[in-house]
Symmetry: C2
Subunit: 182 residues, 2 copies
Amino acid sequence: MAIEKKIDYVILGLLSHEDLTGYEIKKRMDTSLKYFWGASFGSIYPALSDLVERGLASKRNGAENGRNKLIYSITEEGKKYLKEWLQIPAERDELRYETLLKLFFGNEAGAAQAISHIDAFQERIEGELPFLIGAAETLRNNIDLDDTHKYYLLTVAFGVKTYRAYLEWCEEAKKLLGEENQ
Amino acid sequence: MAIEKKIDYVILGLLSHEDLTGYEIKKRMDTSLKYFWGASFGSIYPALSDLVERGLASKRNGAENGRNKLIYSITEEGKKYLKEWLQIPAERDELRYETLLKLFFGNEAGAAQAISHIDAFQERIEGELPFLIGAAETLRNNIDLDDTHKYYLLTVAFGVKTYRAYLEWCEEAKKLLGEENQ
DNA sequence: CGATAATATATCAGTTTGATATATTTGTCA
DNA sequence: TGACAAATATATCAAACTGATATATTATCG
């Protein structure tokens, strides 16, 4: 059995949709996958080399005008490897919320400090939510255009649901903290 | 400026509430902090030694009946260090949802597979939600007993809100996937 | 009284991040 | 047209952290 690196599956998953360069993979991470996964260049590039070495992906030179460009594709073996992983139940779903962490220790710094953390969180969520709602709308309208759209929509809908819950919580939380101050 | 390790702040935060052993810190991580943070023994024990070395925590031997036991406390310097960090706005709030990842690539494996991932997710959330609701109830009833209770409640309420949103999403998602199958 | 679970500390290989370095091309404003 | 910033693209590395494992003692329960 090969070594189980999450990054391998994420990359293979993206390559199963389309051929991509390492840079483009990073862009997908920072946009489409942003709301439930992340990865850095430091893991992407070594993983790509490793996948090629293991025969799970192939590499071709796509240089245009002299710009360095390495395009990666998934191989049949890679598809098999990905499909096997997709069948195993997911184990690790985890959050890493620095905002919540600072709130948990909030008594050290007081209610005003806590409220300012919540405000910052709320602003970020409110700023991102319209984009998620827009993406959901677009996907819903083009659900039959591509096989992948339904599954994209699933994850975007998750984002919308949770973001709305976050915003409700922000109001509740500030009310709870405000009570003490009066 | 000292090195910015998240684990240092988490440990100092816990020690600001009460004196703890490394083992007890791990227990707090796996219960109270579980819903928004995590840490392993492999980071806790080295961090504790490091914190003592830097004068941010102190160590005393609390062995009873011969059982090995090292009890850690936060120092005044440690409290200052923690308070400074609590004032800085949180930057990194991130999810790592393997369930969502497998769903995002779901077209490879099909709707039935996707639904089984959602079912497993839903079962886990439904199993944990009553505990969260119970904890929120207890905290609400004892909100004035301890300064920390209000802040604990804040994070538990976050858990309840998001878990309920997850469950709503599960139903929606399965409906969306079911439509194709008909 | 024997087995299993809980308490407790510790280490380490392997994974990943976050930062940084380097170079080219494209867009934009004047 | 020339200058500057932004985007494209690959690569590396120290430091952080996980997940697994090792070791030992004490508590619990039938």
